[in-house]
Subunit: 410 residues, 2 copies
């Protein structure tokens, strides 16, 4: 008699973004004919750069000729792409890694969710709060929590590292012993970016406690301040204690094309494993549970890391950052307190005193016809905030900000 994994039933409500979509749909049905403007989900909207499209079409031509057709690639990714990633880290970040420390995937979300499988279910997990829901949910399914407490918005067993106005939305290191730490910088949802000193504190903590940091750098391309770290490996000692997850989604507009990578260094160690063990485990995991990213997407990824391709991607990133500036200035003109939107595509805006995130979400939708994302969906410390995304056509962002400025009235 088959039995289900009951950890699934601990998961609180639905996944955040489908829930936002559902509520928006319900509102739209009640308000037919009203144009809803979307600054909710972090979904890219601008055309793929021509140089990337050309590279993918060229790959399709190769696949349509039996002399150049290829089937399964390496589960870890095509060697030219892994080499290009290694060279990119060296050239852009001054970070020296080996080619085989890069594992190409179908996106940062999959890796963010799957990496916990390498660790035993009795590890204590610390989560930045608020955070991208995948870190929490995957560890709930992996059995590293008790039940969800609807009163506190917390799962028993997790250690929540609160990001708030006091600490500039970058949490301090845990006060107790934890085993796994999820960090994301530039942060989704707050848009805050950790400094080198702040990341160093986490690396020092992890080395001292033999903890592992899972560092999500999916928005690193949005950092323009040269003093801010774009890879955790800019911090000395991080190779011993940190895995980095990254993606072409927000760099190259590949949200639908699907391509990402993770870095699992040879030097990574933890309590019951020496050098190379975690590296080899992730290799085995990917060879067993995954069959490589799409070869068409990988051709696009290689093109994105050439000088010409990266320039085109940077223009895309700059476009969204232009949107972010418009949004932040618009919200601040109403007296709203905001974080992010400079080295990040997200703006984290505090609602009126005493108004919950979902109520602020409803208020903005009702009064301004703009969809944002309720901050409480990212964790209890997000309560009272909303995340505003800079992904959208410029004219739509301008229209949404105009509507907020004219109609929010708080």
């Amino acid at each position: 008699m088959a039995k289900i994994n009951t950890n699934f039933s601990k998961l609180a409500a639905g996944y955040l973004f489908p829930e936002v979509a559902r509520r928006t749909r319900v509102w739209q049905e009640k308000n037919p004919g009203v144009k809803v403007m979307r600054l909710g989900i972090g979904n890219t909207t601008e055309a793929l750069p021509r140089v990337l499209v050309d590279a993918m079409k060229k790959k399709l031509d190769l696949l349509s000729d039996r002399n150049t057709y290829t089937g399964y690639g390496d589960e870890q990714g095509d060697i030219p792409l892994r080499q290009a990633l290694r060279d990119f880290y060296s050239r852009k970040y001054g970070v020296e890694l080996e080619m085989d420390e890069f594992f190409v995937s179908d996106g940062g979300k999959s890796d963010s969710a799957n990496l916990q499988e390498l660790f035993s279910s009795d590890n204590i997990v610390a989560i930045q709060d608020p955070a991208y829901p995948v870190y929490v949910d995957s560890n709930v399914v992996g059995g590293r929590t008790g039940e969800f407490n609807p009163k506190t918005g917390c799962y028993d067993g997790f250690v929540y590292l609160e990001s708030n106005a006091k600490n500039g939305f970058i949490p301090e290191v845990p006060k107790c012993k934890v085993d796994l730490i999820y960090l994301c910088s530039p942060n989704n949802p707050t848009g805050a970016v950790a400094t080198k000193a702040q990341l160093k504190a986490f690396v020092d903590y992890a080395r001292e406690n033999k903890a592992i940091i899972i560092f999500d750098a999916a928005y690193s391309a949005y950092i323009e301040d040269p003093e801010l770290p774009r890879s955790i490996y800019e911090i000395e000692g991080a190779k011993e204690c940190a895995i980095e997850v990254n993606s072409f989604s927000k760099l190259a507009g590949f949200t639908g094309v699907r391509l990402g990578w993770s870095i699992v260094p040879h030097a990574l160690v933890c309590e019951n494993s020496g050098e190379n063990v975690l590296h080899n485990m992730w290799n085995r995991r990917q060879c067993t549970f995954f069959n490589g990213a799409s070869n068409i997407a990988q051709a696009g990824g290689i093109a994105a890391l050439t000088d010409e391709g990266y320039k085109a991607c940077s223009e895309l990133v700059d476009y969204y950052k232009g949107n972010a500036k418009i949004i932040r200035e618009g919200l601040e003109s109403l007296g709203l307190v905001c974080v992010g939107g400079k080295d990040s595509p997200y703006i984290w805006a505090k609602g009126p005193e005493g108004v919950s995130s979902w109520d602020f979400f409803d208020m903005i939708l009702d009064r301004c016809h703009v969809v944002v994302t309720p901050g409480s969906g990212f964790g209890p410390a997000g309560e009272g905030y909303v995340r505003v995304s800079a992904y959208g056509h410029r004219e739509d962002v301008e229209a949404a900000v105009k509507s907020i400025k004219e109609n929010l009235k708080i």
Copy 2:
């Protein structure tokens, strides 16, 4: 102090196909200049059909225009593809399913490995022996076994359903109570295909014991005998007890493009869950751990299910089946006993009495310069056999078969 998931250390040796590749590389280094012919891995070799390539290029054109660009799709897959799959099952198999019972993925391997996450770690797992290694390995990582016993080639805790010459390589239902049953038909590696009566015995067993069947139908397009079932849902009652996994890899040559699907019916039930529970769990799993298959690949998948696209794919399938015929006839002309190669791209060949699979592998490589896959790599009942794959250019298959016929000398 982070601790690893020690289930990984139970995994026997490396993953089979990288190990075959490694041994071949070593042999090649010792024999420089000798042309190695490959009938090993089940990797497609022929050009992608033009109609599929055109559809994917058209999708790239849409993505390169800001007015038609789209980012994240639904985690479950694009609606037109799910509708096309539903219509395909109705039209081709007479199987009526609902659109939302189809979950599009990046390939059958991922789903085959990930589906076990829905079940608790104390489920008893029955595995067809020999079998595609992913079913075994993913359940080892999921904690459903004891240690690997190198003497028997078995993991403690698994129930092995032996496929052998006596039962025509389709096993009988388990003699004890099991919870999860992995079946693959047409079978990888043996090429044997289960009849409706044989599948019905498993469906009856599963319903009686509230077990769940995970049915891998990745090679269903190779079935030409109209009496053989191409979907488990051709068997009455299967919707209550079976999940079906399938793929565009061997249908459309998408091994590198990456696209597959699984069917998780609403009616599926098990001991501690009623209707819709497993369906909703898989939906939540995919929304949390996955972000949809590549939109470019999905455009190709939609084209593959049109009349024109399916005709082109069928020609591809027929080409490989032509290879299979040549291989089987060649091996049989040497007096080797073979299974498969008719409604399947794989031929399962028995080596000389007393010769192990790896020794037979070495013999074929040494004498004939042909790479096959050792049967013991698929499970203990595979010992003494090799799997010969029909994926290859016709002229290469002919050359390999000629070399085997001239040089094997057994």
